[in-house]
């Protein structure tokens, strides 16, 4: 940490600090976006990890000490980050055409260009996973909240997002009504009450890379995870894991530029490169879907059923708007609830 901040403090021309989530996802980005870009442009890129959320970004922007130039941000956070002035507006009209010649505006799925501060990068999903040797296997979100049926620890990411949605799903709220119910005070109470029932069985983690680790170490029997992390553990490390798509909360990640980045022009160039048809298709290494239609032809047949887009009817799309509006107040409630 200290070393990396020292490094990024000495910024020369043609140097870029890109942050993302690390792990298998980071490796795929390095292979298909960072390395080819370094090769083509000769720019020196510092590729660092962060654990997501807007806290670090906010602290950098508000203290006017911006160390990052490009960050991979979850769309669940991007609306809030953009409306609170933490991100630069991205000139989306300069994005390159798809490899098949389709103009960027039509090539990208609409959600990918839905926020003026970011360019969609992947379609991914938050799912839960378990080991295949578990006695009773969970099949629904309700099972995750049923410690009688499946005893043992559950590992969730330490934030209100997704956990509250899942609590309502497990409590019997229909998928299409989740955000409407969560928008009411009773709905929030209901969600926390449901989380209360398994509070002592939850292990909280801060970064997605911990999820497969916890499952592997036996730290938890069911983990919440980004689908790509589990996919990669199964495929690369031959882990005996299983992904359950029921209740998946899918979302986009996008590239964005922190407000006040010292290398904005270079950052724009990098994002243009990293959202080309071929770069985006490379994310299939970790079963994350491309945000360009033209990338779809490059996706291997065996990966397609592993993409979130193959299971859309089993879950919901994370609402960036809802979390932009309620993120901070629910965040405070969540902290208060957690610490009790």
């Amino acid at each position: 940490m200290v070393a990396s901040s020292l490094l990024s403090a000495s910024v020369f021309a043609g140097e870029l600090t890109v942050v993302s989530f690390g792990g298998a996802y980071g490796a795929a980005q390095k292979k298909h976006m960072i390395d080819p870009y370094v090769k083509e442009s000769g720019t020196k890129v510092l590729f660092e990890d962060y654990s997501g959320g807007v806290a670090e970004l906010k602290a950098q922007v508000e203290s006017k000490n911006v160390k990052w130039d490009v960050l991979d941000i979850e769309y669940i956070d991007v609306e809030r980050a953009c409306s609170e002035g933490m991100l630069e507006v991205f000139p989306q009209d300069i994005l390159p055409k798809g490899d098949d010649g389709t103009p960027a505006k039509e090539d990208f799925i609409p959600a990918a260009l839905g926020n003026e501060c970011a360019v969609g990068n992947i379609v991914w999903s938050i799912i839960f996973a378990h080991k295949n040797d578990l006695k009773t296997k969970p099949t629904t979100v309700a099972d995750v909240f049923d410690t009688k049926k499946i005893p043992g620890k559950r590992a969730f990411r330490k934030r209100p997002q997704v956990n509250l949605e899942w609590a309502l799903m497990a409590d019997g709220v229909a998928l299409k009504d989740i955000y409407d119910v969560l928008g009411t005070e009773e709905g929030v109470k209901r969600a926390f009450a449901k989380l209360d029932t398994i509070k002592k069985d939850i292990v909280w983690f801060d970064s997605w890379s911990q999820a497969p680790q916890l499952l592997n170490d036996g730290g938890a029997v069911i983990v919440q995870s980004a689908n790509g992390r589990i996919y990669s553990a199964i495929k690369k490390d031959k882990a005996n894991f299983n992904i359950v798509w029921d209740g998946q909360v899918y979302d986009l990640d996008g590239w964005a530029i922190p407000k006040g980045s010292k290398n904005k022009d270079e950052a724009i160039k990098f994002i243009q490169f990293a959202t080309r048809t071929k770069s985006l298709a490379g994310m299939q290494d970790v079963a994350y879907g491309p945000t360009r239609k033209s990338s779809m032809v490059l996706i291997a047949e065996e990966v397609k059923p592993q993409l979130p887009s193959a299971h859309l009817d089993q879950g919901i799309k994370a609402s960036a708007e809802f979390w932009a509006d309620n993120g901070s107040s629910l965040g405070e409630k969540f902290t208060a609830w957690l610490i009790k």
Partner: protein, 419 residues
């Protein structure tokens, strides 16, 4: 004063002599004071000023009145708060929100008002998003516009919220830090049960600090006693074992505890191997591990002052008491223990006060129920960026420690501390 030295007239101390003597002494003292100057400036710049800023920040926040100055001005003229403010106010706010939206500051405005009146941040954010597409110059009725975007604009509550968020000076943060809230009407009421966070954590912090002080006393007193009895040469060798951890980085010691306590750590692996348990014990990321690790880390702060005081206790006192008929236990209680009290006071005060403000160890291995008040201060500094609340929490802690010191001074006497 009467002069008693009258034998030698030349040497007699007249008032003139006394005056000169005092003057010389004062001059020397002033010169000596110069030596303290660097420290004084150091304290002023790096200690007193930041604390001053912290205290200032805990009740002064001009953000909202800087973001929407005209609306605040209009709202100050708004008298009957049971009815909505006038159309002019609606218009002013609509323009100001649109302006903020363009400069991407509407989110900041929403967050600030939300702190003052929960559930309103989303109203402002949604309004800002919708108002982006509206040509305000062509709007006929601004009240209608805002209430059509969100019905909450149609009730006076949100307006009183904005008005009180516009107060530059507020005790709201102190109210929040003590689990109260300041209503826009000026009333101070207790937070609803599920929102009370800070007082329970404050109580927990004092409780944990007390337990740690007690444990360091139980563990440290015999060690210090033993060290004070054995020959100096032996004692200095043994003291290294006390000091070595003291010199080791805090982070290293805390991480070592993780290696020992975690679910596949040394303790659990051993117990599992010998079949004492069938699944790993949960002995980390909770209050237990916090107390354990902090006791270990703070132990030298208890042992060292105790040792230095015990070293100076004349053993003949204890022998005398025994020769006068006290049994060993009585002579310890009546003679030795009171003599060691200055060291114990110093050690306890050091351990207790350091423990109350402890951050790193609970942050790393405290889990959920091992978090202390300083972790919440950090949370508001780093995550929610509510620096005002963090400042208020810090000030509350400062005041509590000063009160504690005062009580202590009354009971034991500050002069009874020996470091």
């Amino acid at each position: 004063m009467e002069n008693t030295q009258t034998t030698d007239d030349d040497l007699s101390l007249t008032s003139e002599h006394t005056r000169k003597y005092n003057q010389a002494i004062r001059r020397e003292k002033n010169k000596a004071l110069l030596l303290v100057l660097p420290l004084f400036f150091f304290l002023l710049v790096f200690f007193i000023t930041p604390i001053g800023f912290m205290l200032y920040r805990s009740f002064y926040n001009p953000t909202v009145s800087n973001l929407v100055p005209k609306t605040i001005e209009k709202l100050e003229q708004w008298k009957d708060i049971s009815r909505l403010p006038n159309e002019e106010t609606f218009k002013t706010l609509a323009y100001e929100i649109k302006g903020l939206q363009k400069t991407r500051k509407s989110g900041k405005f929403a967050e600030e008002v939300n702190r003052r009146l929960p559930q309103t941040g989303s109203v402002i954010k949604r309004t800002a998003r919708k108002i982006k597409k509206v040509d305000l110059d062509k709007v006929a009725n601004y009240q209608k516009l805002l209430t059509s975007i969100h019905k909450k604009w149609g009730s006076p509550a949100i307006w009183t919220g904005i008005r009180s968020a516009g107060d530059k000076l507020t005790i709201n943060y102190y109210a929040n830090a003590l689990d109260y809230k300041l209503l826009p009407t000026g009333e101070i009421v207790k937070q609803p049960e599920e929102q009370r966070v800070y007082l329970p954590i404050l109580k927990r912090t004092f409780y944990i600090a007390f337990i740690i002080t007690l444990l360091t006393f139980i563990l440290g007193y015999p060690v210090a006693y033993y060290l004070s009895l054995i020959p100096l040469k032996k004692a200095s060798v043994l003291l290294i074992f006390v000091l070595l951890p003291f010199w080791t980085s805090l982070l290293v010691r805390t991480t070592a505890w993780i290696a020992i306590l975690q679910s596949n750590g040394v303790i659990n692996k051993t117990l599992l191997y010998f079949n004492f348990i069938d699944k790993p014990l949960e002995i980390i990321y909770n209050q237990f591990s916090t107390i354990l690790a902090m006791t270990h880390i703070l132990l030298p702060f208890m042992i060292l002052p105790l040792y230095s005081v015990m070293k100076g206790i004349d053993p003949s006192y204890v022998r005398a008491s025994q020769s006068l008929g006290a049994n060993p236990f009585m002579s310890f209680i009546k003679v030795y223990f009171p003599l060691s009290l200055p060291g114990l006071s110093a050690g306890s005060l050091l351990v207790f006060i350091i423990a109350i403000g402890y951050y790193i160890t609970p942050a790393l291995i405290g889990g959920v129920d091992g978090q202390l008040i300083s972790n919440l201060v950090a949370h508001h500094m780093r995550s929610t960026n509510n620096w005002e609340l963090a400042a208020a929490l810090g000030s509350v802690l400062l005041v509590l420690i000063m009160v504690l010191y005062w009580v202590y001074d009354r009971l034991v006497g500050a002069s009874n501390i020996k470091l």
